[in-house]
Amino acid sequence: MTTTDQVRHALPPTPGTGPGTEDAPALTAAQRRRAARRGLAFQGGSGARILGYAGMVLALLLFFVPLYFIVITSLKTQGDIYSDPISWLPNPFAPENYSYVLSEVRFDRYLRNSIIITAILTVVQVALGVLCAYGLAFLRFPGRNLVFLLVIASLMVPNQVTVISNYALVASWGWRNTFQGIIVPLAAVAFGTFLMRNHFLSLPKEVMEAAELDGTGFGRTLFRVVLPMSWPTLVAFTLITVVTEWNQYLWPFLMSDTDAVAPLPIGLTQLQDNEGLTNWGPVMAATVLTTLPMLVIFLILQKQMIKGLTAGAVKG
């Protein structure tokens, strides 16, 4: 046996060179082990598959049952809501809860305010988030990492901590009970900057270099190269922003005095009663009406959102 043969003998066999593997792709031992495990999970056990589906059904119920109860409660009379045992269908059917909400609370005003606040905040946050992230990802300047650290640090400060100082500042500008008073302090975008910067850094450098070689300007590269490749993450960021701003309560509550600028979550509290008697049917009807726009937006964009959230989770 030559020295070369001795060395070869000491090493593990080259992947794909074993008997009966002439047409098989080259696999390492680790890859073969992983493949075997996958085979067990997906080919071997119908029990495992049933378990998987049972898990999915359980998760579905976990999310669906509360939603179902909100919807059916919105169509129940007060007595039916408290029936014992719980009724799974409205009896009698009480759609008048919805007309009560629309007449009793200025729902149209609150809805209009919510749309204005959410739309402006979403546009501003997405625009600022993308621009900040783009700069932090691709511009080289002194203190860049420090700026990014500050952005992340601001994520660690709970909103409640800065509420009073923000209130004082905004009130001193005479912005109480105005849209700008509600919107401007909420327009900071640390989360979006963080999310988009990390995504931008995961883009292939070659594409950026190619754009540079083609003479594409820095700004044009963002719109023609970077954003088209970032669509899923951008949609996820937009959706998260929309839902967050739609549900804002504390700051708009402190800032708004009347239904001229107050959003829906504040309008909802008008239907609840302290020391009196809350009729939960209309409260749930208003909750359904408040949730509906978010649900529609999510259903339209869910595929993109899931893509965005899992982007980078699998190395391609």
């Binding site: 800065t162 009073i164 008697l277 809350t278």
Partner: protein, 435 residues
């Protein structure tokens, strides 16, 4: 991005910097005002949480005011979903400006505002605005007396009441013109009431998140206990322990149910009795599908406490705004308007003249349930204990403790010991140094 130990330290430093920057923004955060106080825009801002679903009736009264006073119009501001939220909003305004002219201040918030100088004493303003303070029901007016000055005017004032399903009491062969005279008598009545209503609880009481601490206060007094005597907590006294033990036993026996939404539980017949505020009378009258009576809380006297809310004027606004605010508060609670308000909500009229008004007398005669609270005010109530209403966070702290006893079934002595120590700690920290 990977984090080394150095970059993590940097991150911590940056976090501190961000916090410091956040804290630097804004102005001073003291209550009170310097140099004449904050000027308004000529409109009286009334911040209310609309107790007892009173938004419409409040607005109607404001509309009347605006007709009569076009130069100083008032506007109704949604101050929050409850007294606590209104307190938060007012605290933000104290720190940041944009103070209202008049706020609803509840039995548990008015004192802290007065104590910190956030709201102004009203006595001189009453004189200046021509308010007849003697016409205000004495007990209710004196509830806002601190250090010889009054810091609030009664507005939506209540006492705790017992509500009983008359049909069930009749079915059980019990009197239908009165409630139990003592808690021991209630314990005797309870099984009969339950039998007459298919085993449903004899009494439902709101939980600790919904002022169980307020309802239990009358019960603790009748057992010889109290939350406190002046500024000395008395949770661990034998009478207090006996009352808490009684509550726990009654809940365990199924006689009393502690519920988050007690009003609805009673209104749909899932309990035969209810311990609630006078302010619930309007809503229950509209929604209950059976006849019910209101009764005093069990004795021995006093077995109930006053509650609800008054209105207070911020100290940080200009003198002119203060006088206008008091004029408006006087209008809001005058004879005609307190009658309107009380008939719409169930709260008590707050003026003596209202009780002498012929129309109101007729109304009360026709609606004996509304009369119960007024009579009980003179015969069976006492002002609340300091530990609940004057010690910061008192109500919520006691409510949470009572939940542990009644719902959690925890050891009574241990929970009351905790309440004793926690209350004493807050008194030593916040009250004693300033007395």
């Amino acid at each position: 991005m990977t984090f080394s130990r150095r970059s993590l330290l940097g991150l911590a430093g940056a976090g501190s910097a961000a916090l410091a920057l956040g804290a630097c923004a804004g102005g001073e955060t003291s209550a009170g005002s310097g140099g004449g106080g904050e000027e308004g825009d000529g409109t009286i801002q009334f911040w209310s949480n609309h107790p007892g679903s009173s938004k419409d009736v409040e607005q109607a009264i404001i509309d009347l005011w605006n007709e009569e006073n076009p130069d100083t119009p008032a506007t109704l501001v949604d101050g929050g979903a409850n007294y606590e939220e209104l307190g938060q909003k007012f605290n933000a305004a104290l720190a940041g400006g944009g103070l209202p002219d008049l706020i609803v201040a509840s039995d548990v918030t008015w004192f802290n505002f007065a104590f910190t100088g956030a709201t102004t004493p009203l006595d001189d303003l009453w004189t200046e605005a021509g308010v007849d303070a003697d016409d205000i029901v004495d007990t209710l007016r004196e509830d806002y007396n601190y250090d010889g000055k009054h810091y609030g005017m009664p507005f939506s004032r209540s006492t705790t009441l017992m509500y009983f399903n008359s049909d069930v009491l009749g079915e059980a062969g019990l009197p239908t013109d009165r409630g139990p005279e003592t808690w021991d008598e209630f314990a005797e009545w309870a099984p009969r009431i339950m039998d007459a209503n298919g085993g449903q609880p004899a009494l439902v009481v709101p939980d600790g998140s919904n002022y169980l601490d307020w309802y239990f206060q009358g019960m603790i007094w009748t057992f010889g206990g109290a939350y406190s005597t002046e500024w000395t907590p008395s949770f661990t006294e034998q009478g207090s322990l006996d009352a808490a033990t009684f509550l726990q036993e009654q809940v365990a026996a199924g006689h009393i149910q502690i519920a988050a939404d007690a009003n609805n539980t009673f209104a749909i017949g899932n309990a035969s009795g209810l311990l609630q505020s006078t302010g619930s009378l309007g809503g229950l009258t509209d929604s209950a599908e059976f006849p019910f009576l209101t009764t005093y809380l069990p004795g021995p006297t006093p077995g109930a406490c006053t509650g609800g809310a008054g209105v207070a004027v911020p100290d940080g606004i200009s003198d002119e705004r203060k006088v206008n605010a008091v004029r408006f508060a006087d209008f809001l609670t005058n004879t005609a308007n307190t009658i309107t308000f009380s008939q719409a909500t169930g709260y008590m009229p707050v003026r003596k003249s209202a009780l002498e008004d012929p129309e109101e007398a007729t109304y009360l005669e026709e609606n004996p349930n509304a009369m119960t609270a007024i009579r009980q005010l003179n015969e069976n109530t006492a002002p609340q204990d300091n530990a609940r209403v004057f010690v910061s966070g008192g109500g919520q702290r006691i409510g949470a403790g009572l939940d542990r006893i009644a719902i959690g079934g925890e050891d009574v002595a241990a929970v009351m010991e905790d309440l004793q120590n926690e209350t004493q700690e807050v008194i030593d920290r916040d009250i004693t140094p300033n007395l």
